[in-house]
């Protein structure tokens, strides 16, 4: 078995991993290694052929592939080593990984620091236990996107989409533009799950949006033939007599993303049940020393621009750590999300340095007041579940923080 040591090993070559690796290298760590399971770098971006990327980071309106190409180029220009089609099988709390690929076989890699950038996976029909048959033609949106925009196959010609999050809305448009009939998008909440600008995906193509509905039965023996949907009450329960059966041959699910933390668990990294990802401090370090994390593995982001920033932050800090320049913070203040705040990242701050917190709300609100601790109030014009809410803890605000070790970040419902 091959055994090697590196300065920093980055698990994942998507937007987060590339940002982290390039930042670490630019910050002086020469030995940086990216491990990526796909045959190409880029993560999910190469299949996101739509625009809307880079509005903040580059102040340009780019497609996914164009955005990530800039970071892939940086990786090669900086001479960062990448192992592709390489699967990480194990991670220990001492920053050792076991990985495998076809040319190297099994490898044991020791690192000074690890950066977790594994992204997330999609919730399946099975996980939702949607009743009915189990025919061909049921796919998650990301898998459909890969098939349609990389592999060259349209999964079906009469499509029903479950979930009105961004990916579902974007796939509705892609299916329409590839010649399929999109019968509708079904959303259990009373309002759409994705960014407003993505609602155009539906209105532009006359695709009906069934708000306050859920799929109650999938029909079809060998291939999907129809889906029964039902109006739901305030608790999300189907209402009797309010069903409708929609003929289709394909069901696309965009019903939830789950940060992929199987490796994090193996290393004993503490996870936050609310985010599904590691508990991190303001350095993006996890509960295990020298293991940092960034991107969708920490919490599901809305814009890749934020992922890049988070990746760069973790890369810089991992780099400082291997040089001995990042001592653990003196104070550890735990942040506790309450009320309409679903979660806040990072979950642990020092109170010594200004930083921006990122959070998500459970329900939309106008003129929202977010309270951090007893004294800090941050006002937001509008907050929506589909968009990360940034909470700027400036130097001035940090002075109001108080001495507690446990501080609430909350918003009235």
């Amino acid at each position: 078995m091959i055994k090697r040591k590196s300065g920093i090993v980055v698990l994942g070559g998507g937007a987060a991993g590339l940002a982290a690796a390039t930042a670490a290298k630019e910050n002086g760590t020469d030995s940086v290694l990216i491990l990526e399971r796909n045959k190409d770098l880029g993560g999910i971006l190469p299949q996101c052929i739509h625009t809307g990327f880079g509005l903040h980071y580059f102040k340009e309106n780019l497609t996914g592939p164009e955005y990530i190409a800039r970071f892939i180029k940086k990786v090669y220009d900086l001479g960062i080593e990448c192992k592709l089609e390489t699967m990480v099988l194990d991670l220990t709390c001492r920053s050792e990984t076991v990985a495998v690929n076809q040319s190297d076989g099994l490898m044991r890699l020791q690192a000074g620091a690890i950066i977790l950038a594994m992204g997330c996976r999609e919730k399946s029909r099975g996980a939702l236990c949607i009743p009915g048959t189990r025919p061909a033609g049921i796919l998650t949106a990301g898998t459909a996107q890969r098939l349609m925009d990389i592999e060259g196959y349209v999964p079906g010609k009469r499509v029903l989409i479950l979930g009105s999050g961004d990916v579902g809305l974007i796939m509705a448009r892609r299916f329409a533009m590839e010649g399929a009939e999109v019968e509708g998008v079904v959303e259990v909440m009373a309002y759409p799950g994705g960014l407003d600008r993505n609602l155009q995906c539906l209105s532009d193509f006359g695709i009906p949006l069934y708000l306050g509905h859920s799929a109650t039965f999938i029909h079809g023996s060998e291939r999907v033939e129809a889906v029964t949907i039902s109006r739901v009450d305030d608790q999300g329960q189907p209402m009797a007599g309010k069903e409708e059966t929609i003929e289709c041959d394909t069901v696309i699910l965009s019903v939830g993303l789950i940060p992929e933390n199987e490796l994090s668990r193996k290393a004993g990294v503490k996870l936050d049940l609310k985010t599904g990802g590691p508990v991190v401090d303001e350095n993006m370090e996890t509960s295990v020393e020298n293991i940092f994390a960034c991107g969708n593995v920490v919490h599901v982001h809305d814009l890749v621009d934020h992922v890049t920033q988070e990746g760069e932050l973790s890369g810089r800090n991992a780099s400082k750590r291997v040089r001995g320049e990042l001592p653990p913070p003196k104070r550890r203040i735990s942040l506790r999300a309450e009320g309409n705040i679903r979660y806040v990242v990072p979950q642990i701050i020092s109170g010594e340095r200004p930083l921006t917190l990122y959070s998500r709300v459970k329900r939309p609100a106008f003129n929202a007041e977010i309270k951090v601790g007893q004294n800090i109030v941050v006002r937001k014009r509008v907050v929506k579940p589909a968009e990360l809410v940034d909470i700027d803890l400036t130097a001035r605000r940090l002075k109001e923080l108080g001495k507690e070790e446990d501080i609430s970040v909350g918003m009235d419902t």
Binding site: I49, H50, G64, M148
Partner: protein, 123 residues
């Protein structure tokens, strides 16, 4: 005199103003509920000549992957989206392709080019 009111959700910033536009004989006569000038301009454009970013895929021969992602160099008229998509469905490009390569110049005489948004090496 035909009067119509339409609600346009502005996409330019997170506020997402639901702008009410009154249209008489194809001309915008009243705009309500727009919080800023950009929103007003956007709603007028949406009524008179709505445009969209255009992006799709094009088949590739001899490349590492079989599809090339492409985009238009400028936003295109919304009602031409499917026409461009169908037009691009007819062609097959050969690898290698470089990000930025022009795949189709002046598509359907629109003055708009279609360019590659990724590199594709030969297989």
């Amino acid at each position: 005199m035909r009067t119509e009111t339409r609600e346009i959700v502005c996409i330019l910033c997170p506020v997402g103003c639901k702008i009410n536009v009154e249209i008489k004989d194809g001309e915008v006569t009243r705009i309500e509920n727009a919080e800023c000038k950009r929103g007003i301009d956007y709603s007028v454009q949406e009524v008179k000549s709505p445009v969209r970013d255009f992006f799709t895929t094009v088949r590739v021969k001899g490349g590492r992957i079989p599809l090339l992602s492409v985009r238009s160099t400028k936003p295109v008229p919304k009602d031409m989206l499917m026409a461009y998509a169908s037009e691009l469905a007819r062609i097959v490009v050969s690898a290698p392709v470089r990000l930025g390569d022009t795949i189709v110049e002046n598509i359907l005489k629109s003055g708009i080019d279609i360019v590659a948004t990724k590199d594709i090496e030969k297989a």
